[in-house]
Amino acid sequence: MNSRILIRKIGQRREASLVLLIIVLLALVSIRAPGFLAPANIQRIVNDTSILVMVSIGQFFVILAGGIDLSVGSIIGFSGMAASLINEANPGLPAGVVLILGVLIGAGFGMVNGSLVAFGKVPPIITTLGTMSVYRGLTFVMSKGEWVTAHEMTDSYMLLPHGNFLGISNLIWWGIVVSALLYYVSRFTRSGREVYAIGGNKTAAKFVGVSEKKIQFMIFAISGTISGLAGVMWTARYAAAVNETATGFELQTVAACVIGGVSIAGGSGAVPGVILGALFMGIINNALPVINLSPFLQLFIQGAIVLLAMLINTLSEQRRDKKALQERLA
């Protein structure tokens, strides 16, 4: 393989163009605000974005199989509130146990989604649109509409994301561990490849013996578990559990996926792209106040970015399909 083909191949990868895009974005922002590129600030951004990275990878598995999970924000809200309430009621309970309980709650909610989709045959969009409301409503009912604030949480609970190891915060470590684990699952395990198979061609996958039900149950369970973890991290990091935690977060996770080159129709995409997509969103969110743009613009910008990224994905997919067809005809 000569070097020109190699360069072209790298250029075609979504990850490469995303890295380039992020560098350009960082450069543009740092012209307006030179302090933006300081190592401490970069670490702050990565720290802020770790939760988005984790949940986006969960969302990635669901989208990869051709579904969508709109309930991630509500699961984060519920598990965060539940963990905070447990922590408030039992200050003696080790933070690690509270963390595990929060993760288990998220996993349980994810499995409810998964059961409805896999065994109840309810389409993912309907299931998660419904459970999005149900879980959010349950959060209000459980908390009676009240908040848990910093002085009601134990120090060890708040240290879960804030502590650091080798100079890097625990939250970033969680992001790295979860990303690495799920990268491994998607790339090198049988189940991971089966998710690609189901998303790529459901009928063909069934014929070679892939269990669609098992995969559907699994991806929603993964997404829920990560959201549970994210809920605990979220409330501990911001030292407050409010009922509206992570409302609208599902859009950001879908955004990270489509920016990362995941096809919304399922079957294509990869974890590294999703991580970069999430980082891109994180940088945008953090850059807005720095370059004096109103935070009220955030919703609009997010929507515009998602639409644009999806448009690019769709057009390039269509061009690729057309090219493949022409090659086959030639």
Partner: protein, 361 residues
């Protein structure tokens, strides 16, 4: 010879397959009653009756003509949006940006009103902005070929984002006096709200379009088998485009009604309406996988959910409990028909097997 064939089939395919081809008597009174009472619209009617009986026993304020008519104010906007949503869901798409279309349309009216626009100009602007938003969705979905769920998820933020970017934490509250009629007025001197009558007229028109025109039949055809419809010469993408444009138009109308009723525009106006509108349609028996359902079922669902919420409000259940109820109903409305179908299939197979065992005796 006959007997030989039978044993052969049984060896190869098992008794179930043999039995499932057997004719059983499905015209007995019991079978017919079961068929009628498991019909979705009948189930909804029974549920509506139960809601009326239950709440009128609990609260003396429920069964009151004035209250029953006035309650419709709270759900006509969603009911109006449910009409084109039938077309969209019927043809296998979905639109989760409708609440944001209301936000955008209401914001435009508020802006125009602050510039001194009159009542009819406001209505025209509200409806036109809704239509434009629907065309925007339709363009990306039907012309470019992007998935409906993805496009409307993005425009959900985009449309609301525009009004939020300009309004920030402010609100428009100045509307002309006569503008209030659409969402608050009554027909003549009667107790009948204008918006209810208006909705019923729209429902009649959309019912006619869905059930009596070529356009409506094509929507069913697309929902049943998109590819087959295309090969039969149905312009699938044109119809999907019109569906989304209609959805925008009706969301604009709903925005006029809602803005007129509450008399103000905040960035969070109509938040959560997407889920409720989709729930109405799915609860009304329209299949999310397309091709099944009718407008009458959706009408039943609209009144069922509207009066259920009214009753729950009367006995002081919080808004959050109602949101949970709506979410559960949405899922149950999809789960239950599939469950009923499989129970029916199982019953039929059992009857068929009974028939075969009787024969062999």
């Amino acid at each position: 010879m006959k007997r030989q064939e039978d044993t052969f089939n049984r060896d190869v395919a098992g008794p179930d397959l043999v039995a499932s081809t057997r004719l059983v008597n499905e015209n007995s009174l019991k079978e017919r009653l079961i068929l009628i009472f498991t019909k979705w619209e009948v189930l909804l009617g029974v549920l509506l009756l139960l809601v009326f009986v239950f709440f009128s026993n609990i609260s003396p304020y429920f069964l009151d003509t004035f209250n029953l008519l006035n309650t419709t104010f709270t759900f006509t906007e969603k009911a109006v949006m449910a009409l084109p949503m039938i077309f969209i869901i019927m043809s296998g798409d979905i639109d989760i940006s409708v609440a944001s279309i209301i936000a955008l349309s209401s914001f435009s009216m508020g802006y125009a009103s602050s510039m001194g626009a009159g009542t009819w100009e406001l209505v025209a602007i509200g409806v036109a902005v809704g239509l434009a938003a629907g065309i925007f969705n339709g363009f990306f979905i039907a012309k470019v070929g992007m998935p409906a769920i993805a496009v409307t998820l993005a425009t959900q933020s985009l449309f609301r984002g525009i009004s939020q970017a300009v309004l920030e934490d402010q609100a428009y509250t100045k509307y002309p006096q006569s503008f209030a009629y659409f969402g608050q007025g009554y027909v003549g001197e009667s107790l009948v709200p204008f918006s209810l009558v208006f909705f019923l007229v729209l429902a009649a028109i959309m019912g006619f379009v869905l059930h009596k025109t070529k356009y409506g039949r094509k929507v069913y055809a697309i929902g049943n088998a998109k590819e087959a419809a295309r090969f039969c010469g149905v312009h699938v993408n044109r119809i999907r485009f019109i569906n989304f444009a209609l959805m925008g138009l009706f969301s604009g109308i709903a925005a006029v009604l809602l803005t007129s009723r509450i008399g103000s525009t905040r960035p969070n106006i109509a938040l959560g309406y997407d889920m409720e509108v989709i729930t109405l349609v799915v609860l009304g028996g329209v299949s999310i996988t397309g091709g099944k359902g009718n407008l009458f079922g959706v009408l039943m669902a609209i009144f069922l959910l509207g009066y259920l919420k009214f009753g729950m409000g009367l006995i002081n259940l919080s808004a959050k409990v109602m949101v949970i109820t709506t979410g559960v109903l949405l899922i149950v409305a999809v789960l239950l028909p599939a469950f009923l179908d499989s129970v029916k299939a199982w019953r039929k197979l059992r009857l068929q097997k009974q028939g075969s065992s009787m024969e062999s005796v």
